[in-house]
Amino acid sequence: MNFLAPLFALGALAVVGPILFHLIRRTTKEQTPFSTLMFLQPTPPRVTRRSRLENPWLLLLRCLAVALLALGFARPFFKSELPGAAKAVGAGRRVVILVDASASMRREELWDEARAKADEVLRKTTPADEVALLAFDGTVRTLVSFDEWKTLPPDDRAPSAAQRLDALAPGWAATHLDAALIHAAELLEQPSKAELKPAEIVVISDLQEGATLDALQGYGWPKMVTVKLEPVRAQHAENASVSWVSESDESETPSEDAPLRLRVTNAAESKREQFPVRWSQTTDASAEVAAYVPAGQSRIVRAPKQPERATSLTLSGDDTAFDNTAFVLPPPPVKVPLLFIGEDADDDTHASLYYLRRAFPKTRRQSVEVSAHRAATSVPAFQLQQAQLLVLGENSADAPLASARQFARDGRIVIAPLTSGASAQAVARLLEMPQFSATEAAVKDYALLAQIDFQHPVFAAFADPRFSDFTKIHFWKWRRFDAAALPGAKILARFDSGDPAIVQVPLGKGSVVIFASSWRPSDSQLALSSKFVPLLQALLDQSSNAPAQKAQYFVGDEVPLPADPAELQVRKPDGTEVVAAAGAKFAGTDQPGIYAVTPGTRRFVVNLAPDESRTTPLPLARFTALGVPLPSAATEAHPPSPEQLAQRQAAELEGQQKLWRRLIIGALGVLLLETLIAGKLSRTVRSSTTATA
């Protein structure tokens, strides 16, 4: 048994107290009257002889209580239970070196400095140490793993690791410090208790404010792991950045007219407030705008009119250049052809086409062009191929119907509103189901939509209770048909009478959506309701089946690619070409700039993540607040001596075993027993003295 505070054991000497008190005969305060003191001399209280110890059991209990207390305060522990502690001191450490290779490391000499620090850490390793070298930005890359380190000859380990680091250069990605730290901590998870080694994570980074740390909140760090921060600091703290604020898709202003908006951010340490922003690749004075941004704030400024062929804006006037360029590529509006087969006149306000033309406003993202095919001939092949959605009107002839059938079979959607009982014939011919028919339903006042399938993509946008109220749409006329007769038909909505209102019938790769009524004013209020536009847009989206495109991406983002053709090539801003599978997501966005996809004209823009521009160093308190096990300042300044280490281990063992608790409880128990016995004894003594008196 060992003691953490052996000096407290000296307290055990206090057992002399009880022994002495037992030896000294009790001096009572009771007075005994006596007839005369003529024959008496005063006797001093004296120590009785050993053989006359009173109440030896009581004495034993008192001594035991004192001894237990002294022992408890001495904080005893058993050293034998220390697993592998002796090994831990001499058996080397496990070190993970995390080198920041994010965009902010491009500043000044930061990368060289980081490499030098990494070299220093590598040089300080002993052959017993295990080291892994990782680089991180948005992702974590292993440069040297533990296994690799072990296989290398001890003399060659540090140089080869440094060599691999030299081959690396900081990229353009954001700093995900939390992910990197967690990855490193997982690497350091001890495989078993027997090999308990002190583990250390050395972070060599500029520790910028924009680094993400959120995932560290509440993270359970493995034991024995400490995180050592090796910050590299830039000389100039001033930094301003520019980023493009891409417009929301719903903006009604046509893209050619809308001015571009830029966000200019200035660091809190900045002393300058004025930053000119100009289009690159031009010398035109009108292509420049001055942004006035106070330190620590950000402002939205309107970019000057975009000159021809200019794709990027550059901010000047600050010390750090890596985040001073924003690439801008306003997406060209997509032309979406929509085909209407029917005889409706363009200006007939009672017909379907009139409302269809007005249902799709022109936005920055798309402009829907509705073309009507009124002839009884079949639709031209190119027109059919380009069209994204097809709507059937009244009195369609066989040839256009055949084109529509082909259109659906190719994987698109044909909308077929039943404007009358006769129009069911057209649907029957479209679906090639002659038995399909519809009858005019008898409506008392009006019908309402009920039982809407909000799970379906067409109605998914209305699933929120704020938008799911369809009761304002009254139907005066509708046609009853037997949906069960249609194979594979899916009822998207029913009328309040329980009859199907909107039914989707699969046809080939695509489908036909049958409306039991129509949006003509004589049939219903659908065209006037707020649900009409989103409903048709949902049908259009489902029909065209195109992936959603963002205006801009950030470095590290995955970009969805078009579904065809099968083989695609992505041309990066630096000119390299990458082959990508169609329909897959392109993950190689490792630099800012304009990416081009071939074949086709598609281009997308990738910019630097805005957080990366926040280069103010993180305060150390942030890491402490997140529970990152940082070594204390004292241990950093003076590495602990072996005695201190042993003392620390002893303290840890003692903390685990907590023998002092049992000892104190034991002492309390003994004192309780002592109180009981003493109480009983004093009672018997008192009763005996009263008996003799």
Binding site: R26, S35, T36, F39, Q41, P42, T689
Partner: protein
């Protein structure tokens, strides 16, 4: 001692004593022996036994009954030291009961009994009388609570010597916890007045053995002085001193021809009475023998 009334207590003791006496082999010793004394000039001729003169022509004085009557003085110590009692009965209780018993006993015999209670001064004094009601007064006087602090034996004895001119019996009931030397002179005064003196020394068992168990502060009930005493240590010394004191008293008594009886409060009163009478009878014999010689 469980009977509260002193008179009743005394009567109980004496009657029990009488009953026991009838069965005892010493019966008759208590009857006063009447005797003839040769006439000496100066004797009252009234006491001449004329019948004897007529028969034998010799002159003898016949003693009258009343002349043989005893004048007994019970000197009872009521000082504070007497109030000590370790076995439930204080020495004072015992002494009072003893005095009452003797008084009752003597009254039964028709002897005149007087009482003198004292501590540092004389508290009560009743002259020796034999008349109805006297015994009751005596009992009441005995029952008065003790107030005294210390004991001064010399003063009461001197006072008795002054008051009692006629020869009589003086019974001193006390614990005699005073220096023995101070006792000698007053007792000598009494014996010089030809009084018959009997000293009944009443002691508590604890005073004899000092059998206290625990060390404690011992307080002198008379002076209030206290001392820390460890009985185990002090016992030996105490016994030696106490024995020396007793021996000194005994020696003084013997020197003066005084009967000294030591009584402990645990001793039955009948036995005390018996001892008293035995001592008296022995003394009577002694006196007679002395007279005869």
């Amino acid at each position: 001692m469980s009977i509260r009334n002193l008179e009743l207590r005394a009567r109980t003791v004496v009657e029990g004593f009488w009953h026991g006496l009838h069965r005892s082999p010493y019966h008759g010793f208590s009857v006063e022996f009447s005797e003839y004394r040769p006439y000496a000039p100066g004797d009252d001729p009234r006491y001449l036994d004329w019948k004897l003169v007529g028969r034998t022509d010799r002159y003898f004085i016949k003693k009258f009954e009343d002349e043989t009557n005893l004048r007994a003085y019970l000197l009872t110590d009521t000082s504070r030291s007497m109030s000590f009692g370790s076995r439930g009965v204080t020495k004072l209780d015992y002494a009072r009961t003893l005095a009452a018993t003797l008084a009752y006993f003597l009254a039964q015999q028709g002897d005149a009994t007087g009482l003198l209670t004292f501590d540092e001064t004389v508290r009560e004094y009743l002259p020796a009388r034999h008349r109805p009601g006297h015994l009751r007064h005596l009992m009441l006087a005995l029952e008065r609570p003790a107030e005294g602090r210390s004991t001064d034996l010399a003063a009461p004895l001197r006072r008795v010597a002054e008051l009692v001119r006629k020869r009589g019996l003086v019974v001193l009931i006390s614990d005699l916890l005073a220096p023995a030397e101070a006792l000698a002179a007053p007792l000598a005064l009494l014996t010089a007045a030809r009084h018959e003196v009997i000293v009944l020394q009443v002691l508590d068992p604890a005073e004899l053995t000092f059998d206290f168990a625990d060390p404690a502060r011992f307080v002198d009930v008379e002076t209030g002085r206290d001392l820390f005493i460890d009985p185990a240590l002090a016992r030996k010394n105490y016994s030696a001193q106490f024995d020396a004191h007793l021996a000194a008293i005994r020696a003084t008594c013997q020197q003066l021809g005084i009967t000294h009886l030591q009584l402990t409060t645990t001793q039955p009163l009948e036995l005390a009475l018996f001892d008293f009478l035995k001592a008296r009878s022995a003394r009577g014999k002694l006196v007679r023998r002395r007279v005869a010689a």
